[in-house]
């Protein structure tokens, strides 16, 4: 197991925490938490095998969050001295006092055991230990290989993040964590006559290190070898005829549908209206907990902050709550929400399930998504067996465009590749496809989920939520799955052409 970097541990973490928590107590805080974090992010972008731009940035700072007279107060700072930290703690108290006239619901938090510990995510090679030149050379080689096979252009990118957090609160919890994530992606582009199109690798972002690019967890050379021919086939493919089709959806596409139509819809802050003016609310309202038929009886969805290589996996969340795994949909019925400590107590749900997260030292934690995953069927079918059960349908791979309404009813997705299914067999690619549905109609139409061998952890680095806006990384695991009678649009016709 990797260790936390010594230069982070060398920062005066406990001394600063003591200064902040003591000052907050002196000024009357009922609860106080200190969080110091360093988020380092490096991004490389190549176009046609040449480095187009790179950024190597970090965000180092701390935050003090207090409850004073039942009102939250939050302040962030960057000067790492006990005096500066104490001053920011006083600012957090002032923010609580200035905001008090606006607060009508006294803040109380669900109980959580006191924790003390260290957690490091599962990775082998720190991407920040790999020279820039080596990374550029690898992406350049991959790009050159695609260009040599006849595509017009190739864009390549590699995002790498290392997140280090120290947390201490007035209850006595003290935790230190480090996690790493990477996302390599290549997109091949080609023009045929007056039509251009592109195709991106399906490799998902993961909570792994640089080893992900060198053979652990994904076979990039094999995927890249197929991409030019697949793109050429897509450019020559017929345009889809709009109508209702049976779909078999690959995990590389289905993860995003899960994210939008289950992940966000089962965030309790949305269900309670805290996101009403921005990200929106949820059709899955609290009064339907235990009652709502979310999907077919074979639908089982979990929230998980412990999944190995999961982008939302942590040891403890940003309220000091231990990472857990919990049920959200069981046998098709809504049975759980994603929680933070305030909402868990407010709604009488007992302990928080650890879904508070802040994306930077300058932002307060808000309720963010766990790794929300659709469970496979033990002994369930392969993708080929799912396809074999379709007479007239479409097989969907890879995510592309996505959009869903503010209560998570109506969604529309496109993908990287769509194949026509005729009499249980794939019959070539289709173009201009989008699928559109209402969340519960879609999940209730799921008549088969694949077995564990079809299960893949997909995800994204950049799920947006909250004001001020915060981004969070999150994974979604799922098997291949089959849906009956889904509405398919022809996007060219939608554009009025």
């Amino acid at each position: 197991m990797r260790q936390i970097d010594p230069d982070f541990l060398a920062l005066p973490l406990r001394r600063l925490a003591d200064a902040a928590l003591q000052r907050a107590r002196e000024l009357g805080a009922e609860f106080a938490a200190f969080r110091l974090e360093r988020v380092r992010a490096e991004t490389l972008r190549l176009f046609d095998a040449r480095l187009e731009g790179s950024s190597d940035a970090d965000d180092l700072g701390f935050a003090v969050r207090v409850v004073k007279n039942g009102t939250w107060g939050f302040a962030g700072g960057i000067t790492l001295t006990p005096e500066a930290v104490a001053e920011v703690a006083a600012q957090a108290i002032l923010v609580a006092e200035v905001s008090a006239p606006l607060n009508r619901e006294p803040i109380e938090l669900a109980a959580e055991p006191v924790h003390e510990g260290v957690w490091v995510s599962a990775y082998d090679v720190d991407p920040f230990d790999v020279p820039l030149r080596e990374k550029v050379a690898l992406l350049g080689d991959w790009s050159s290989g695609l260009l040599a096979k006849g595509v017009d252009h190739v864009s390549a990118s590699l995002m790498q993040v290392k997140e280090q957090k120290f947390y201490a609160d007035s209850a006595g919890t003290v935790t230190t964590q480090q996690r790493v994530r990477v996302h390599p992606a290549l997109t091949a582009m080609k023009t045929e006559g007056s039509t251009f199109d592109d195709m991106r690798t399906l490799a998902p972002p993961v909570g792994r290190g640089y080893e992900y690019l060198t053979g652990t967890g994904w076979d990039f050379p094999a995927e890249l070898a197929e991409l030019p021919d697949l793109l050429a086939e897509k450019l020559a493919a017929p345009s889809v005829k709009a109508g209702a089709y049976d779909l078999v959806v690959d995990p590389s596409n289905l993860w995003l549908t899960i994210h939008e139509s289950i992940g966000h819809a089962t965030e309790l802050d949305r269900a309670l209206g805290y996101e009403a003016a921005y990200a929106g609310t949820s059709f899955a309202t609290f009064d339907q907990l235990g009652e709502l038929t979310y999907g077919s009886p074979i639908m089982n969805v979990t929230g998980d902050r412990t999944a190995e290589h999961g982008l939302a996996s942590v040891g403890w969340d940003d309220e000091g709550v231990e990472g857990q795994r919990f049920d959200i949909v069981r046998d098709g019925t809504l049975v759980g929400y994603q929680l933070d400590r305030r909402m868990a107590l407010l709604k009488g749900l007992g302990r928080s399930n650890g879904c508070a997260f802040a994306d930077s030292p300058g932002h307060p934690p808000i309720q963010r998504m766990a790794n929300v995953s659709l469970q496979p069927a033990e002994g369930g079918p392969s993708a080929e067996e799912l396809i074999a059960g379709v007479d007239d349908g479409i097989y969907v791979l890879g995510d592309k465009s996505w959009s869903i309404d503010m209560q998570r009813y109506n969604f529309q997705f496109t993908g990287q590749r769509f194949y026509k299914i005729e009499n249980g067999r794939l019959a070539g690619q289709l173009r201009d496809v989008a699928y559109q549905a209402t969340t519960t109609d879609f999940w209730r139409s799921m008549d088969a989920v694949g077995g564990p061998e079809t299960y893949v952890l997909g995800g994204a680095f950049n799920c947006g939520k909250g004001q001020p806006g915060q981004v969070a990384p999150v994974s979604h695991g799922c098997p291949s799955a089959r849906f009956r009678g889904v509405k398919i649009l022809n996007t060219v016709q939608e554009g009025g052409k």
Partner: protein, 455 residues
């Protein structure tokens, strides 16, 4: 150490042929509320040093936050090393030359929670009023101040202070079936009238008392300035010259080149940016922390002026770096942080356009806008917080929400009326872009693809 001293110290260190140093000083304050009560709040401060080093043909960029005086040399050294490791930069150009700006020595500007001292009580009164009427208020107020200092080894020293404020108010009926939204962009919150915004919300919730179900289809639609802003911002973000030249966007000419010079709208519409435009003032020079398709670190300090993207309905310019301008043979027109759309003078107000509508839809805003097809710039998204039916010049009720599929470029060619432009806050993109002046538009056949049950 002042930001100016940081710039000078970083520039003075040996190890690179040329260097650009950028210091950003940021302060923020925010209040967030839901259901007539505060939910989150905060103040924060940030400081970031970005060093662009040029060694031979290579360029290295390193950015670090909270840098102490003793750490400046480490950041510069890391950028120098990255430059030595780098391949030749395709966008390399001589750094922009210049001199020390007259305002260079002024300290960075700041904000604090005190910016809300007048707003917070007014919001408190609005919460109380909503509570007594059984309604609920949701929303967000934020103030950011960014002071950026740019210095180059060619002698240029420029700085800019950018205040950015936004307020969003969302009112809902007690049963949550009626919802209305208003937003305001501001520099300092002194011009925000909570009572007036609250009155607009009340009027819209009143309109929504009569519910009318309409099927999907193409409808004559009045897009208010905020919805127009969201569509035009996406068009603007898609107007990179290099991508168009490479055949990757709606602005690519089939067979090669770009569509610059081509008529996009039959009406004489101007879409432009102007750093000096009153109310939406923004930085008058390029600040690029990294190079990309649409910006170049070599262009830091480049003078920005009024730039027309669309003039009299014709595509006039695309977003350029100096490098992409050379490749495409077009003018050097880098991105600018505001966007203005205007039609012929004498355009009607939105209220006058409603009065002149026999039957059509009036939107409040668009939401979750995403690209479906880059070739046509087909976008999808939802209507939100109020779609109203206009009949014989009056709003007669609220209609269900829709998912739309529309291209803002195609739409420019179909609009039949451009109203009077005013400053507005985009709904979808105001996390990234707040400085817009837009007109209301009349579209004869806006494509409402399907009904959304959301309300």
């Amino acid at each position: 150490m002042t930001p100016q001293e940081v710039v000078e110290r970083a520039l003075a260190l040996p190890g690179a042929d040329d260097r650009v140093v950028i210091v950003d000083e940021d302060t923020t304050a925010n209040l967030r509320f839901a259901g007539n009560t505060l939910t989150t709040n905060g103040v924060a401060r940030g400081s970031r040093l970005t060093v662009v080093s040029i060694v031979g043909a290579g360029t290295g960029v390193v950015s670090r936050s909270g840098v102490t005086p003793e750490q400046i040399a480490d950041v510069v050294g890391a950028a120098d090393q990255a430059a030595r490791d780098a391949q030749p930069s395709e966008d390399a150009r001589p750094l922009v030359a210049g001199e020390v700006a007259a305002d260079w020595d002024r300290p960075a500007e700041e904000t604090s929670i005190a910016v809300f001292r007048d707003l917070a009580p007014a919001l408190g009164e609005a919460f109380a009023a909503a509570e007594s009427g059984g309604g609920r208020l949701y929303g967000f107020a934020e103030h950011l101040v960014n002071s950026v200092f740019v210095g180059t080894s060619t002698g240029l020293r420029r700085r800019h202070d950018q205040p950015t404020g936004r307020l969003e108010l969302n009112a809902k009926s007690p049963d949550m079936t009626r919802s209305a939204w208003v937003g305001a962009a501001t520099r300092d919150f002194t011009d925000v009238d909570i009572a007036a915004l609250d009155a607009t919300l009340a009027q819209r919730l009143e309109w929504a008392k009569r519910k009318i179900d309409l099927p999907p289809g193409r409808y004559e639609t009045l897009l208010p300035p905020g919805a127009v802003a969201d569509l035009m911002i996406y068009l603007y973000w898609s107007a990179g010259a290099r991508d168009a030249f490479d055949g990757r966007t709606v602005f690519a000419k089939p067979g090669g080149g770009t569509r610059v010079g081509e008529e996009l709208a039959k009406l004489p519409i101007d879409l432009y940016s102007d750093p000096a435009r009153a109310g939406v003032e923004c930085g008058g020079f390029t600040v690029a922390h990294t190079s990309s398709r649409e910006q170049s670190v070599f262009d830091n300090g480049f003078d920005l002026g009024r730039t027309k993207w669309i003039a009299d309905g014709r595509l006039e310019n695309l977003i350029q770096t100096r490098h992409s301008a050379e490749v495409t043979g077009l003018a050097e027109t880098p991105a600018i942080d505001n966007l203005i759309m205007e039609g012929p003078s004498g355009g009607r107000s939105l209220e006058e356009m409603i009065a002149a509508t026999e039957r059509g839809l009036l939107l409040t805003c668009l939401w979750y806008i995403r690209e479906v097809d880059p070739q046509t710039l087909l976008l999808t998204g939802l209507t939100r917080d109020g779609v109203y039916l206009v009949e014989n010049g009056e709003v007669t009720g609220e209609v269900n929400n829709f998912r739309f599929n529309e291209s803002p470029v195609d739409l420019l060619g179909r609009i039949t009326e451009v109203g009077a432009a005013s400053q507005t806050l985009p709904r979808e993109w105001n996390d990234y872009f707040t400085r817009t002046i837009m007109p209301p538009l009349r579209v004869p056949d806006f494509n409402m693809s399907t009904v959304s049950q959301a309300n």
